[in-house]
Every structure is written in structure tokens, then in C-alpha cells.
């Protein structure tokens, strides 16, 4: 796959010291932009993607030829309206859509890094993306926005750069990755590692990819993005192209067939090692611990106006964990709004057509933009 022509790359030439202790330099950061930066440069939004997202948030992804992951929310006339705002979205480091990751060549041995790639954190991802502000000569963003792992990046960004964004919208996320979420990520990682083709992460040399392990990881994760009610309503016990059970281990049920399909298409666009690295970054995320158990301290220096959003049926990043961020901000008198959106679509709600959610984002952005004091 030749990504060269389709992927915009910023080569970050300043050294970036990672949390693991290693330093990286001259590394690529793949990004995409939507809309136009205005003359005052006050309409820029940095959007952060979730675990399996990439820089192609809107429109047709030139690599996969499918709709961008946030096409419902982001684009001309959408909630994040690219007719008004200039949106930048970058592939996280550790990712596999052009940013520095385990598929890049290790200068020490001229082979792909594989699991020799340094372990990265949410903090590292955000620090790498900060270079985009300098690149576009943007002094202050209008907003930072993202769901799930994207929301974690929003929180880390405001904490690291307290006065670099006027507003922030962390969606369906947490300030501290829970034991349940670490457990679910570990399930995915073990599934990849149990695939013989994984070869301790050096599968690129063998030309045999750990597709089965990665597909199972995706299937398991996909269930966690939905809700019991949503699954029941969409699939119930409906059978897949058959009138009765076959008394075998074929995909008798539609839900089985659906999950197998989700797993199979995922391996075409995602790298198994990136999946390991990015889930690890999520597990290591604990902004509360970074501030010695007091989350409020993470935002003390910030003047950013927050709008936090959760979804009723999201059991992966439940309302209670989102509300903890609201509480931390209220405890120090910061400007924070909060809405829990009713939806049966589970954690995935932030990616889907959920009108109350999309309207809330749209109204918050538009009223905040024109309300300059």
C-alpha cells in the first residue's frame, strides 16, 4: 500500500522525550485538515481520534475508501462545521496510518521496529501533536475535541497546555483508566499474542500477519462498544441466512456473523502491534495519579471552557467516570458544562447519528465561538 501521496506528514525535528525515558526525533506525524484557517487564526480545532481511528475523520478515507470515522459529527454543515472551523486531526504516534509507529524502520537494524518500538503514552501522543500548532502558527486553538481515547487526549492536552485552547470537549472518556478497561484491553492483546504469526511482534519479516488474533481482539472490543439493549434490538436471536440451527459451530446467529465480519475488515486496515501499543497507552492513562491523586490540580492553570458529554448506555466509560471530571473542575470553580445523552448505542454513540449529541456539540461550539469576551 503506497500511502505516500495520500498522507500529509509533518516531520517533527525537535526531540520528544517519551514517558518511558527514550527520546525520539525526526519522526513523522501524519495529519489531515478540514476547512480553512481564517486570517485571525482563531477558528482552529484539534480533533483527537480513538483507539482504532486515524487522521481521516471526515469524508472518504483515501486508504480504506470508506467514510471517515467521525463523518456524522465533522464536515461541512455538521456539528463540527468545517465551513466555519479549521479542523486538524493527526494519527497518534504508535498508530499505523503514517505516524511514527511499530511498522517504521528501526535505524539500528534497518528492520521494522515491531515490539522494539518504545512504549508510548497519552501524554506522548499529545506532546507530539502539539507541534501541529507551531506548524500552522496557531497561537491558541478554538477547541480540542475527542471521544474515548480522544477524550483522554483532550484532558491531557488542556493539562499540558493550559492556555492553548479556548474550549475543550472530552466525550465518553475517563481521567483514569479503570480495571475493567485494562482487563478488556489485555484480553485483546493476549488474543494477538496467542496468534502464532505474531512472532513476538516481528511478523513483518515473516510476511505472515497475526490476522486471526487481531480479528478476535476486534470482535471482543466491538462488543464493549455496544449495549446489551442495542445488540438485542438489532440482532436478538435472529439466524444468519438459515431457517434453523445447524448443530455446528458455523455462524448460526446474525450476531456471530456480524462480529466475524467486523474482525475480518479490521485486519485490512489496522496493525496488530499498533493495537498493542495504543491499548497500552490507554491503560497507562491516569491523569489523577499524575497529579498525586488530585485531578483538580491537572486543570488549575487552565482558563479553558469545558463541555463534558457522556452516554446513558456506555458501560465502558460510564457517566460516573465522566462526572468525576466535572466534579474535579467544579471543585476549583472552572467553567464546565455537562450533559448525559440518552442513547441505546453504547460507547459507540459518539461516532453515530445521535441527534441530541450532535446538536449539543454544535450549539456549544457555535455559541462559544461567537461569545468572545
Amino acid at each position: 500500500m503506497n500511502k505516500g501521496e495520500k498522507v500529509k506528514n509533518l516531520i517533527v525535528d525537535k526531540p520528544l522525550k517519551l514517558d518511558c525515558g527514550k527520546t525520539i526525533v525526526n519522526f513523522p506525524l501524519a495529519y489531515e485538515t478540514y476547512g480553512q484557517l481564517n486570517e485571525k487564526k482563531d477558528n482552529a480545532i484539534l480533533a483527537f481520534h480513538a483507539l482504532t481511528g486515524d487522521q481521516f475523520a471526515s469524508g472518504i478515507n483515501p486508504i480504506t475508501k470508506k467514510e471517515g470515522w467521525w463523518s456524522y459529527a465533522l464536515g461541512p454543515g455538521k456539528a463540527i462545521d468545517t465551513n466555519k472551523y479549521f479542523v486538524i486531526c493527526a494519527n497518534v504516534i504508535g498508530g499505523c496510518m503514517g505516524s511514527y509507529g511499530p511498522r517504521n524502520i528501526n535505524p539500528e537494524n534497518q528492520k521494522p521496529f515491531g515490539t522494539n518500538f518504545p512504549v508510548i503514552t497519552i501524554n506522548d501522543m499529545v506532546n507530539a501533536q502539539y507541534h501541529l500548532l507551531e506548524f500552522f502558527k496557531i497561537d491558541k486553538l478554538f477547541s480540542v475535541v475527542g471521544g474515548s481515547m480522544g477524550g483522554m487526549q483532550v484532558l491531557q492536552f488542556v493539562s499540558n497546555f493550559p492556555n492553548k485552547s479556548r474550549t475543550a470537549i472530552p466525550i465518553a472518556c475517563t481521567a483514569s483508566h479503570s480495571a475493567q478497561n485494562i482487563a478488556l484491553n489485555e484480553l485483546g492483546r493476549q488474543s494477538i499474542m496467542a496468534d502464532h504469526n505474531w512472532s513476538n511482534g516481528f511478523y513483518e519479516e515473516n510476511k505472515k500477519l497475526p490476522d486471526k488474533g487481531l480479528a478476535v481482539a476486534r470482535m471482543a472490543a466491538h462488543i464493549t462498544y455496544l449495549s446489551k439493549k442495542g445488540l438485542q434490538e438489532k440482532f436478538g436471536r435472529k439466524l444468519q441466512e438459515r431457517d434453523d440451527l445447524k448443530f455446528s459451530f458455523d455462524a448460526d446467529f446474525q450476531i456471530e456473523s456480524y462480529l466475524r465480519y467486523q474482525g475480518s475488515v479490521f485486519v485490512d486496515r489496522f496493525d496488530a502491534n499498533s493495537y498493542l501499543y495504543i491499548t497500552r497507552a490507554m491503560d497507562y492513562f491516569d491523569l489523577t495519579k499524575q497529579f498525586n491523586g488530585n485531578l483538580s490540580k491537572a486543570f488549575e492553570k487552565s482558563e479553558t471552557k469545558f463541555f463534558i458529554i457522556s452516554f446513558t448506555s456506555d458501560w465502558l466509560y460510564p457517566t460516573s467516570e465522566n462526572r468525576d471530571i466535572v466534579i474535579a473542575l467544579n471543585a476549583i470553580g472552572k467553567d464546565v458544562g455537562f450533559a448525559e445523552i440518552t442513547s441505546d448505542k453504547g460507547h459507540d454513540s459518539f461516532l453515530l447519528d445521535v441527534p441530541d449529541f450532535l446538536n449539543a456539540v454544535k450549539n456549544f461550539l457555535n455559541t462559544s465561538y461567537y461569545k468572545k469576551i
Binding site: N330, T367, K371
Partner: protein, 184 residues
């Protein structure tokens, strides 16, 4: 604009920090935001109303006043407003205590059960009063703890809460609403 908005807004000093508890669709907040202070936010339990506040560009936190006021530190607001919802709480005393803890001052409005029309309704019809301010029947009312202006004054005296001003000069018989500025 409702008359009571004007009375409430006049109790608030310019550019002070305000929380509107049970802010509804944000009408009062919007009025105060445009005329008195930009530093105002609301707490609202109804999802529908939360959306309406966001539409108006107001800062609103979805939450339940009976549970979620405790997250705010002592004296974190100059004024905390509770407009016509006191009687609907399970534990109104706890809510008043919380208002006075997080606000330097609190503005409380109550529908006055001592209003003459309410008195006449019960006296003449012999059924639970239904008026413009109290539109519900006894079986579907959200109002659990109705009180009169006089009841509220007595309560404040008993609990050593200072009433700084109230509207319409304590007219227990002739006011549909009681509006109180209180502090501890």
C-alpha cells in the same frame, strides 16, 4: 419576561458569581447573563432542559440538586438561586443547607400556599388547590413539601437564617410567590 425574573435579578450584584439550581430551560439564567453577570451557570436534572440551555449558549451541568450540590466547595458562589423548586425536593432542608454552604447568599422562591386564591379554593371547593403556579392535581403533583411565606419565615427564624429581603413585603395572603434573599 416574568416579573419574578426582574425581582430576582435586582437582588444580584453586577459581575458576581452565580449558580442557578434547577435552572430549567435557562430563561432566568439568560436574563441574568445578559443584564447582570456573565459568570453564571446552572444545574438542571431534565435532559430536555439541559439541551435548551446549551442552545442558548449557557453553561449547564446536568445533575440532581439533592445529590450533586456537594461537589461545590464552601462559598464558591456569590449567589445561589433556587427558583420555585424547593417544594419538590425529598429533603428540602438539606437543599437549603447546601445552598447556604456553597453560596455566600441564596435566593429562594416558593409558590405561596398561603395565597388568598389557594386559601379560597380549599375553603370553598373543598378540594386541593389548583392555580396557575400550582397547576397539578394532588395525585400527579411533583410538589412534596408545600409551604406558605409565613412558614418559610418561621423556618428561617428557627434555623437562624437571616432573611435580607423578600418581595412584596411578606404578604402571606396577597403574594402568589415568595422571593427570599437569605444567608447564614
Amino acid at each position: 419576561m416574568k416579573k419574578e425574573f426582574n425581582i430576582i435579578a435586582n437582588l444580584i450584584k453586577k459581575d458576581s458569581k452565580v449558580l442557578d439550581v434547577g435552572c430549567g430551560d435557562g430563561q432566568l439564567m439568560k436574563y441574568i447573563y445578559e443584564n447582570i453577570t456573565k459568570d453564571i451557570r446552572g444545574l438542571e436534572i431534565s435532559k430536555n432542559n439541559v439541551q435548551k440551555c446549551i442552545e442558548k449558549g449557557l453553561t449547564v451541568i446536568e445533575g440532581d440538586a439533592e445529590k450533586d450540590l456537594k461537589q461545590f466547595p464552601i462559598s464558591s458562589f456569590d449567589y445561589v438561586i433556587l427558583s420555585q423548586t424547593l417544594q419538590a425536593f425529598l429533603d428540602p432542608e438539606n437543599v437549603i443547607n447546601e445552598l447556604l454552604r456553597i453560596g455566600k447568599k441564596a435566593i429562594v422562591t416558593i409558590p405561596n400556599f398561603g395565597y388568598w386564591k389557594v386559601r379560597m379554593h380549599l375553603l370553598l371547593k373543598g378540594t386541593m388547590p389548583v392555580t396557575n403556579n400550582l397547576p397539578n392535581e394532588w395525585y400527579d403533583t411533583p410538589n412534596l413539601h408545600m409551604c406558605t411565606i409565613k412558614d418559610f419565615e418561621n423556618y428561617c427564624n428557627k434555623k437562624k437564617i437571616t432573611i435580607n429581603s423578600s418581595n412584596l413585603n411578606f404578604q402571606n395572603v396577597f403574594s402568589e410567590l415568595g422571593i427570599f434573599l437569605i444567608e447564614k
